[in-house]
């Protein structure tokens, strides 16, 4: 199953937008205007399509800002800390995110794909 294509189809239907807008590099909230209830529906849809148990907090990076606080309080390196929390993301992607925090929610379509591939591999 092509993960990108399946997620594109689900997002196109959920967000009522064209598939072409849903590139791997598109930000879910900043570009595609996804709201919390859309993410709730997306988790249900991904669950059903891929037969995986989606953890909403993980896939949507919901606790990202809390983790950064936690790392700071514990005097740990933010990148190292996130790498441990988000096993499905590469270090490169985590570093990108850390440089991008001022711009708003960092979640991208590609992060969803990374999560799903990681889940399928570790099933």
């Amino acid at each position: 199953m092509d993960i990108l294509q399946t997620i594109q189809e689900e997002l196109a239907e959920l967000l009522d937008i064209e598939k072409e807008e849903i590139t791997p590099d598109a930000y879910m909230v900043r570009d595609l205007d996804a709201e919390s209830i859309d993410l709730l529906e997306l988790a249900v849809a991904i669950n059903a399509s891929f037969g995986i148990d989606v953890n909403d907090d993980e896939i949507f990076l919901r606790l990202l800002r809390e983790f950064l606080e936690e790392a700071k309080d514990a005097g740990k390196d933010a990148g190292d800390f996130l790498e441990e929390k988000y096993r499905f993301l590469t270090r490169e992607r985590i570093d990108d995110m850390l440089n991008d925090l001022q711009g708003g929610p960092v979640l991208k379509v590609n992060d969803l794909i990374s999560y799903v591939s990681w889940k399928l591999e570790n099933k």
């Binding site: 959920l14 967000l15 009522d16 937008i17 209830i37 859309d38 709730l40 529906e41 988790a43 249900v44 669950n47 059903a48």
Partner: protein, 403 residues
């Protein structure tokens, strides 16, 4: 000086069409799109053809939570806001009053929720939004920028007329200067059809006879479901004048009550039904003899039409206003019937025309002035009444606009 309330915008999505010209053309040609339900060939329906929510609101992702009736509600509300052409800050202060039934579109959700064999993975996270009665209100506010006082009223087939009545009173009593009111409904899903079929409220098609839906005829034997929606913009007169709004009609009086007689049937004596009609006329500062047109609830059920015909005879006596039954043209739009029939009354007043009660050949009451042939006539005072399951009663008085 008492505040006067006028109608400054409206829109309608009905089986007869959505533009006043098309609707009038259909009235005059006698066209009404009744047909056999594709779900059950015992049942007639009166559908709205080629309805597509996107044509009215464009792309909107949360439309996924709207059942078809709520789609008519949202579409007609958005159309009315467009017709009203208000500034954003005025719109933000406007009220929003909606009449709504429960969703009877029990779809796949029910099968997924079978406790013996549940399949929760197929349920939408927020599937319940389809069944919440204020989902349409939430969508309308988001799409249009209406943010004022609001309520969603669930009084069965009296619901939209009561929503309009509530808006009328809020404006008359000074709480609001303007408010949108109306609703939408469709009962053509399998569960919608079966709800009324099991209740034996439907007209049932039988072979070897004319299957004509004929309210107030001695042969009547149940109602035919229609679908659609309508909204009106109610506005305080001076507010409307100040912004140079076109005035379509005036709302002069309203009343509502509850009979406490039966869960579904009207009280044959029509005690509180009659009190409601009289109070609405009184609220308008008028006498029954001032009413020249009555737009009846006229469902075509044996019990309703008998009760209603007797009630009309008692209230108006020898005065004999013209009697309309608009459901003979569009079917019964259940909770949305009041708003849609009111919009039709506005159109008929403007076009100075009274359509016949279709297929009425043997009236169930001998001394009422049923309109049996369409006539050119300029209505002066129209009383519109609706009676719903649960003993819900409502009546409103409207007049063409004059200083």
């Amino acid at each position: 000086m008492p505040r006067r309330v006028v109608i400054t915008a409206f829109s309608i999505l009905s089986p007869l069409g959505s533009s006043p010209d098309t609707i009038m053309d259909n009235f005059k040609k006698g066209n009404a799109p009744f047909e056999i339900s594709p779900i059950d060939d015992d049942i007639l329906i009166c559908p709205v053809k080629n309805f597509n929510l996107k044509d009215h609101i464009g792309r909107f992702k949360h439309a996924r939570y709207l059942e078809r009736g709520a789609q008519f509600c949202v579409a007609s509300a958005v159309d009315t806001v467009k017709n009203a052409d208000l500034q954003d800050d005025t719109l933000a202060k406007a009220g929003l009053f909606i009449g709504s039934g429960p969703s009877l579109d029990f779809g796949e959700e029910l099968s997924y929720l079978n406790p013996d064999n549940p399949d929760l993975s197929k349920l939408k996270a927020l599937w319940m939004l389809k069944y919440l009665s204020n989902t349409a209100a939430s969508v309308i506010s988001r799409l249009t920028g209406i943010h004022g006082d609001n309520a969603t009223i669930g009084t069965a087939c009296s619901a939209t007329l009561q929503a309009i009545g509530e808006a009328f009173r809020k404006i008359k009593d000074g709480y609001l200067d303007l408010a949108f009111a109306g609703g939408g409904s469709s009962r053509f899903s399998y569960s919608g059809i079966m709800a009324y079929k099991k209740a034996q409220a439907f007209f049932v098609v039988k072979k070897g006879r004319d299957n004509n839906y004929s309210p107030f005829d001695t042969s009547r034997q149940g109602f035919v479901a229609g679908e659609g929606g309508a909204f009106i913009l109610l506005e305080e007169l001076e507010h409307a004048k100040k912004r140079g709004a076109e005035i379509h009609a005036e709302i002069c009086g309203f009343n509502a009550s509850i009979s406490g007689h039966s869960m579904t049937a009207p009280d044959p004596e029509g005690k509180y039904e009659e009190a409601t009609v009289r109070s609405a006329i009184n609220d308008a500062g008028l006498m029954p003899s001032d009413v020249d047109v009555v737009s009846t609830h006229g469902t075509g059920t044996p019990l309703n039409d008998d009760m209603e015909a007797e009630l009309i005879d008692r209230v108006y006596g020898d005065h004999k206003p013209f009697i309309l039954a608009l459901k003979s043209w569009i079917g019964h739009l259940t909770p949305a019937c009041g708003a849609v029939e009111l919009a039709l009354c506005i159109i008929l007043m403007k076009h100075k025309y009274l359509p016949e009660i279709r297929h009425l050949t043997n009236p169930c009451h001998k001394s009422l002035n049923f309109v049996q042939n369409g006539i050119n006539y300029p209505p002066n005072t129209v009383l519109l009444e609706n009676f719903g399951f649960g003993g819900q009663n409502s009546a409103i008085v409207i007049k063409p606009w004059t200083e």
